[in-house]
Symmetry: C2
Subunit: 280 residues, 2 copies
Amino acid sequence: MASRDRTLIIIGGGEDRSGDKVILGEVARRVGAGKLVVTTVAMPDPDGLFEQYERAFRALGVRHVFKLGVNERREATEEAKVRVLEDATGVFFTGGDQMKITSQIGDSLVFQRVHEIYRDGGVVAGTSAGASAMSETMLVEGGQQESFTVGGSTRMAPGLGLIGGVIIDQHFAERGRVGRLVGAVAQNPKNIGVGIDEQTAIVVEGGRSFYVLGSGAVYVIDGTGVGYSNVAEEEANKTLSVHDLHLHVLSQGDRFDLDSRRPARLPEREAKRLPEKQPE
Amino acid sequence: MASRDRTLIIIGGGEDRSGDKVILGEVARRVGAGKLVVTTVAMPDPDGLFEQYERAFRALGVRHVFKLGVNERREATEEAKVRVLEDATGVFFTGGDQMKITSQIGDSLVFQRVHEIYRDGGVVAGTSAGASAMSETMLVEGGQQESFTVGGSTRMAPGLGLIGGVIIDQHFAERGRVGRLVGAVAQNPKNIGVGIDEQTAIVVEGGRSFYVLGSGAVYVIDGTGVGYSNVAEEEANKTLSVHDLHLHVLSQGDRFDLDSRRPARLPEREAKRLPEKQPE
């Protein structure tokens, strides 16, 4: 059954919460009659944010929507908080600050439960900061609308590790983030860079391949073939040089295999099942 | 003699006109004791713009700096305007609107003289709009900080044609233009996309290879290997999909051969000759 195949829905931010709700609709479809926990751990006291998502998910037919707020790390080990996740089949991470997510729930009982829910075939979704936090190494901050400089402002940190071998960036075209994602890939090309536009998501099925959902693009930067880069050679503040990257620009109708690092078109039958209407 | 090898200096905008003047210094070096004509055709009535460049170039030792203003197309055939270019060994196009450059001087006597100056071993430089106008097909306008949509806002037009086989974009990282340049390349991969950051230039020697000068990066997008793109297939407003682009991020110390489409490091001896100090 599709809904028991573990799924990550990694969203580039700005997803529609009141109109067509194409992306949240996919989360809802996969949660189905199950229990969805929305966690606002990425943002302290996010006034009304949970309620927005609750309204959206209820309108999409999810009957069991619960809130998990974690404002301090010690809460992430409290039995009451862990209990919120009991029997959950879906977890949704809102946006905010990805470092708040990892520093407050990393290696906690709450996180262990999230991991179990995923491992047991659940769906874990995250938008914006909640998207960045999914990977083993996450981009925390870094230059926007500027090229990467060696020793510059780009920072990475250990993420939740729900997906390996990728580095996620979000609000990608909108915030001019190609420079920093290229820089992250150049530092260790074992990671594929995945830059996700707003109103756009990748749906990762079984952990090793994804398809694109939504109105924007997904940029895949593959450093396997890189023959030269100055990322380790140059003094600080030298602008990055990196030769022979592979770049795929994907949109709805495309899929990508993370093991072979190859893009492909979805079979027409599957592509037709995706929502036609594109939000503006 | 190096200064008699035809040279294009294509600048991503925002070049320093009062401090180190790394990029204008290269223009000055190549003009040497010759005559430099600065043309403000890209901008109507650019108050004080010529004077800024005149001051900068004189400070850099260029003794013969002349202004060529063209506010209406008929002026581009006037003998007095053409005469400004007599004996010039360098021409500099300021920024503004690239369509003004091509619509006002394209196929005019003024342009024929610019072409002769270049063909005879002169230097033609241009910044921002003056950079975009250099190529045979130029990007005129298009989405910034958004991904390319088929039938969207990106527009191209015939440029001055001083360099073939490339499409230039400028203010590249600063204005988040990767989407539109990828879209331009996808439309016809015979053109290599060259996106130039501010305070950064490519110096094209002999028409078929360039090296990078300045503090930012140059993004080269090569569509030779593209196996799939939806640019001709999809209805309007579908987000671009294009698989298997080649991407090189170059900075000072790199060169690129336009015929083989291969990047390389400059020989150390040549790299050391470039200005050390990087503007911020």
